[in-house]
């Protein structure tokens, strides 16, 4: 077990900067998820840590050792690939035993460890099969087994669940988390699935365009997103953004969105004046922090129902206000008809304001 430290990591492929000056600390035994859309540099980062790619700049430490120049096999890491990357010509037993054979463990020790891992992952009865004869979920377990058997310092996982069907994925998510807690192995896990990230991670590193956007616990990423990107990436459906301008009238500050005005509190106004680089702002509010009213209310903004998406216990109501559409998550409301007049109000404590130019969070 070991901590992992990435310092100013930069990796370019031709003209494309896949990872740009990334700095990341992973504590001993921690489960960190690298989260971001495809092409954001998360997998490249993982591959640099694994030693499968050589960084152009920066340092990578595993434990206290600088590993930049070490080949993958000397980093004492284990990796689970998206495609599982099992050795197709070897039986499950030999797949799991391979890392130990390469390290010249005695035969009896190999056998003991392979069987122990197989027991842990409940794949004992599969040891004599070839990977081709296994289901996706079983292959996944074998890949995990191969990673576990060596008792590595660090686990690296590259979207290990994305090839499984939805039900199995939810199950394996919990299994993986339990396993990681039990074994307390430092784990770096790459995914583009925010639900996976939110449910499994101790901390999440959100990346975009090769740049680390925010690195924090799941709850903080959700409740205090540091940039427009993070705010829009986390949460389902994503946060609503409304372009607006800061307007001051008779000592009061408003956000003018054209179709409506949102009055800022004293405190909010102060922060906006201090931090904003211009009067161009983005008002952000999550669908779950908007209340839908069928009658006019104080501070309510009038709109019309555009589309209703039922989710069973809840509804996603698309409300058209002026030219923009707000998504509102709400408990089931009797009958909602398209084009019906409705009023929405924002939960004042859960309203975010971003600088439109820098895309950074103000509130």
């Amino acid at each position: 077990m070991a901590r992992v430290a990435v310092r100013n990591l930069t990796k370019k492929f031709g003209n494309v900067t896949a990872v740009n000056r990334l700095t990341l600390d992973v504590r001993d035994g921690e489960f960190v998820v690298l989260l971001g859309p495809s092409g954001c540099g998360k997998t490249t980062t993982l591959r640099c840590i694994a030693g499968l790619e050589a960084p152009d700049e920066g340092e990578i430490y595993i434990g206290d050792k600088l590993v930049n120049e070490l080949p993958p096999k000397d980093r004492n890491i284990a990796m689970v690939f998206q495609s599982y990357a099992l050795y197709p010509h070897m039986k499950v037993y030999d797949n799991i035993a391979f890392p130990l054979k390469m390290r010249k463990y005695p035969k009896s020790e190999i056998d003991r460890r392979v069987r122990e891992v197989a027991r842990l992952l409940k794949i004992e009865e599969l040891l004599d099969r070839k990977p081709k004869q296994l289901s996706g979920g079983q292959q996944q377990r074998v890949a995990l087994g191969r990673a576990l058997v060596r008792e590595p310092d660090v686990f690296l996982m590259d979207e290990p669940l994305s090839n499984l069907d939805a039900k199995l994925r939810v199950y394996m998510r919990a299994e993986l988390k339990r396993l990681q807690r039990e074994l307390k192995v430092t784990t770096i896990y790459v995914t583009h699935d925010q639900v996976e990230a939110m449910t499994m991670a101790d901390r999440i590193a959100v990346m975009n365009n090769g740049v680390l956007q925010q690195y924090a616990e799941a709850s903080e990423i959700y409740s205090r997103p540091s940039t427009v990107f993070v705010a829009g990436f986390i949460g389902s459906p994503p946060m609503n953004f409304i372009e607006c301008t800061l307007v001051e009238e008779q000592g009061e500050a408003y956000l003018d969105a054209g179709a409506f005005r949102y009055k800022l509190s004293e405190e909010q106004a102060k922060l906006v004046r201090e931090k904003a680089s211009s009067s161009e702002l983005l008002l952000g509010v999550r669908p779950e922090h908007i209340t839908l009213h069928l009658k006019p209310v104080e501070e309510g903004i009038k709109g019309r129902v555009y589309v209703v998406e039922p989710l069973g216990a809840e509804l996603i109501v698309n409300v058209k206000i002026g030219e923009s559409i707000l998504k509102v998550k709400t408990p089931v409301h009797g009958e909602l008809k398209v084009d019906q007049e409705v009023w929405v109000s924002f939960n004042r404590d859960r309203v975010y304001i971003f600088d439109k130019r820098t895309e950074e969070s103000i509130i």
Partner: protein, 275 residues
């Protein structure tokens, strides 16, 4: 059966017959005495079945075919294994590693495939002569190996590029060196491709006449293809013996193909193993 299908069958059978008739002729000529086939193998009266021609060529006094078989095998087996070993390592580098002038080098190798044997045989002869390899099996083995390299490199490089790279990366993380990755992971995964190449290269070497003719001079070193014309005879052509020797010669590539057919088909179809 529709008319179209009937037509297809007729055409297919006709083409097959055109192909088969010469072989059939050679086979029939090989199992009948000379006196019966001298006017053409298709005269079936009288018809005496005999294997005399086979034993005659196999145990021939001056050019025993069994000696030629040993010579051919001693050349064809190493001339199959050596280029596959060398070319597969080169092909793997071309498929997976980056190094200076890689593309230029690869293009050069591919371009070399277009050189006909006849163009290079004179310099090759002098080269072999300088190295003292004229009239040696080693010389012929090396020549066949080097002629096999370009196409095997091309074929295998393309095959290796279709293999999932993560499997090799996984092996690297699991502690394998470059050579271990190659010999323990890539090679076993490439068996279909390697088997097809082995079949093609072996048959190519076995069927070669030209290189052997130029390089092997003494009759005790002659390979099978060189030996067959020796049965033609000075005053008359012993069709029965030539036919028997030809059938024996042909049987080896057929057996090799039959043994490797399962792999061969997979390899040619591009049977990539699912990862």
């Amino acid at each position: 059966m529709s008319r179209k299908r009937v037509l297809i069958h007729v055409v297919a059978w006709s083409i097959a017959l055109i192909w088969i008739i010469p072989y059939l002729g050679v086979f029939i000529a090989s199992v009948r005495p000379y006196s019966e086939i001298v006017d053409g193998w298709w005269n079936l009266h009288p018809f005496t079945l005999t294997l005399d021609s086979y034993s005659a060529v196999w145990n021939h006094k001056t050019y025993p075919l069994k000696r030629a078989f040993v010579n051919s095998i001693l050349i064809a087996i190493p001339a199959t294994i050596i280029p596959i070993l060398v070319a597969s390592l080169a092909a793997y580098s071309f498929a997976r590693f980056s190094f200076p002038v890689k593309d230029m080098l690869f293009l050069t190798i591919v371009a070399l495939m277009s050189l006909p044997q006849q163009v290079v045989i004179i310099p090759v002869f002098f080269l072999m002569s300088d190295m003292g390899l004229i009239n040696t099996r080693l010389g012929l083995i090396l020549l066949h190996s080097s002629f096999g390299l370009p196409w095997i490199i091309l074929f295998l490089r393309n095959f290796f590029m279709t293999l999932p790279v993560e499997v090799e990366e996984a092996a690297r993380i699991d502690g394998a060196s470059d050579f271990q990755v190659y010999f323990r992971i890539v090679m076993p995964m490439s068996l279909p491709a390697l088997a097809s190449i082995a079949a093609l290269q072996f048959n190519w070497v076995w069927n070669d006449f030209f290189f052997a003719l130029i390089l092997l001079l003494s009759p005790d070193k002659y390979v099978v293809t060189q030996t067959i014309p020796m049965f033609i005879g000075r005053y008359l052509i012993s069709w029965d013996k030539v036919a028997a020797a030809s059938i024996l010669d042909m049987s080896v590539p057929l057996v090799v193909f039959a043994l490797l057919q399962k792999w061969y088909v997979k390899g040619v179809v591009g049977g990539v193993i699912k990862g």
